[in-house]
């Protein structure tokens, strides 16, 4: 009897010791909500969060993350009112929000290092250069974009000779010839169109020298000011998830499909591959994925102002901060703590 009690006490102590382990001073678990800017799909910031959740990285960082997805554009308002704490948004959109309505949101890691949009023409189309756009039907989604206007200027295109048509979000209009040039998200519609049997060629603004940046992680000013360590922890876990995804793309897609039920797997893989291409450049190879270059934000802001993408100017330092992403990396490698 006594031996049994002693044995169980020893076992109990041993268990406790194992669980305790080399643990740091316990940090209270913070509950936060991340809302992806669109429906579940293989956009790189989403993938980062999915992976971090799957692998328990958030838990390791004493975070309990609830993952949501936006259906309309409500994520910006939810973030601004701190109903959610983290989201995604393109650098240009963040600038527009801050400029037009003073929405207190800020980019904390630049995942997409190039413009996420480009213009597609059918592969068999005679349109080869920008100048060939004259006399053609060029589509625009909701409004004529700054990219479009910049491309026209770059190519010396006479805008009055181009027929601008408002299009919806259905790429089939390019298939049946209702438009000759169709604005696309580089990681998305080109693959969709190829699957419809209509391969396309792209006019890519970034390649042609137009300033552009893609998706970033965003948070609200309140979090930056009052809970910077939570922001750092969230970013750290997400970036580790992202690194895992880049290392094992198949596993990443497996995780994506858990959220993106009903989506086409091959299409999701295309999206992932394209976005990974767009996340790496010399800057990120030196400083880590998500690195932010202030001069590029200035260039983007000035570009948008020039072409009417921004109604009025905005202080670049109000739309992004690199203090979090800088601390994550040493010599380009993620520091895990």
């Amino acid at each position: 009897m006594k031996a049994l009690a002693l044995l169980s006490a020893l076992v109990f102590a041993a268990c406790n010791a194992a669980v305790g382990g080399p643990s740091p001073t316990p940090v209270p678990v913070e509950k936060v909500t991340f809302i992806a800017g669109f429906k579940p799909q293989a956009d790189l910031p989403f993938v980062a969060v999915y992976m971090a959740q799957e692998k328990g990285y958030f838990r390791d960082q004493s975070l309990e993350v609830e993952i949501q997805h936006a259906t309309g554009g409500e994520h910006i308002q939810l973030l601004a009112t701190d109903r959610v704490q983290f989201s995604t948004g393109s650098a240009g959109d963040v600038m527009k929000r801050v400029a037009s309505a003073g929405v207190p949101i800020v980019s904390i890691a630049q995942i997409g290092q190039r413009d996420e949009q480009s213009f597609a023409v059918r592969a068999d189309s005679p349109i080869r250069t920008l100048k060939d756009w004259e006399g053609r039907l060029v589509g625009y989604k909701s409004t004529v974009s700054a990219d479009y206007l910049a491309l026209l200027q770059l190519g010396g295109v006479d805008r009055s000779k181009v027929r601008e048509v408002a299009v919806g979000f259905d790429p089939r209009v390019l298939v049946d010839g209702r438009v000759d040039v169709y604005p696309v998200f580089t990681a998305n519609e080109p693959d969709t169109l190829a699957r419809l049997g209509v391969p396309v060629r792209l006019f890519d603004p970034t390649s042609l020298g137009v300033p552009g940046l893609g998706l970033s992680f965003i948070t609200n000013q309140q979090m930056v000011d009052t809970k910077p360590d939570v922001v750092a922890r969230f970013l750290r876990a997400s970036m580790r998830g992202l690194a895992d995804a880049i290392a094992d793309r198949g596993a990443a897609i497996d995780v994506v499909m858990k959220y993106a039920t009903g989506e086409d797997r091959a299409h999701q893989r295309y999206m992932l591959d394209t976005e990974i291409d767009a996340t790496e450049n010399d800057l990120t190879r030196a400083n880590g994925i998500g690195a932010m270059d202030r001069s590029r934000y200035v260039a983007l802001r000035d570009f948008l102002l020039q072409y009417g993408g921004l109604a009025k100017s905005v202080d670049v330092d109000a739309v992004f901060t690199d203090r979090f992403v800088k601390e994550l990396y040493k010599d380009g490698r993620l520091v895990w703590r």
């Binding site: 910006i76 929000r97 309505a101 929405v103 408002a166 919806g168």
Partner: protein, 256 residues
């Protein structure tokens, strides 16, 4: 008498709206609600003034799309109802098809219409027509059928032809139903035109709302919605006035 009544109703409505606006104004100011969450009514009003021309033009476009769709939808519905009212087999085959049309969510169909009809006004008119179709079909059918059977017998006794009975009895019997259907359908047609504009348009209030939403410009968004509501109310009033004239003999019209 009726004119005075209408003015009183209008005054009451305006007072109610003003009261709500005052409450919202105080709320947004007191709690410093940012404009991208809820714009102050004064800001919306100011925006309506500065963009009055734009809102009027775009409103006119949406209205014309809705009106065109309403006319087409009603025309087709009435024609079909005539066929259905005269023949049971037709009624049995056409009614399920009509229900199928009704149950198809407009938001899902709208992009297809843009694909089939192009980017001009055609798909918006088509959507407005589609959304108008079912209520007007039901109302036309019930209205045509509501013709008193005894009266039909009376006219048959006089040797009246089917066409004469249709013209003298069924159509007038259907008019009250058609008017009440029109009240519903006109507003639905407006919504249909707006939804049509969301899937690809460069004109119209729907487009204004769409772009405003994308830009988080809630001030113009609410301004556009108010203009849309005003158009809907005005349209209703016009139908009501026409109804009172045409249906002056109707006991309900007389009582109000």
């Amino acid at each position: 008498m009726t004119v005075r009544r209408t003015l009183v109703d209008l005054a009451v409505a305006l007072v109610a709206i003003a009261a709500i606006a005052v409450v919202l104004e105080i709320w947004t100011r007191t709690f410093r609600v940012p404009s991208y969450l809820l714009p102050a009514p004064s800001a919306v009003a100011a925006r309506m003034a500065t963009d009055a021309g734009l809102l009027a033009r775009e409103g006119g476009i949406t209205l014309s799309e809705a009106a065109g769709g309403f006319v087409i939808g009603t025309g087709v519905a009435f024609a079909l109802a005539t066929v259905m009212a005269s023949s049971r087999p037709f009624e049995r085959t056409l009614f399920p098809l009509a229900i199928l049309v009704k149950l198809t969510p407009i938001v899902a169909i709208a992009p297809l219409f843009t694909l089939w009809f192009g980017f001009g006004t055609a798909p918006k008119v088509a959507i407005a027509a589609l959304i108008t179709f079912f209520p007007m079909l039901v109302n036309s059918f019930v209205g045509l059928r509501s013709a008193d059977l005894q009266e039909v017998a009376f006219l048959e006794t006089l040797g009246a032809s089917g066409r004469e009975i249709f013209r003298h009895l069924r159509v007038p019997s259907a008019l009250p139903y058609l008017f009440s259907g029109a009240r519903i359908s006109l507003n639905l047609a407006l919504i249909g035109a707006v939804i049509g504009e969301w899937t690809g348009a460069d004109r119209g209030l729907g487009r204004v709302i769409f772009v405003a939403n994308a830009n988080l410009d809630l001030t113009i968004l609410f301004a556009a919605i108010l203009v849309l509501a005003t158009i809907g109310i005005a349209a209703n009033a016009v139908v009501g006035a026409a109804e009172r004239r045409v249906l002056h003999w109707h006991p309900i019209a007389v009582a109000t």
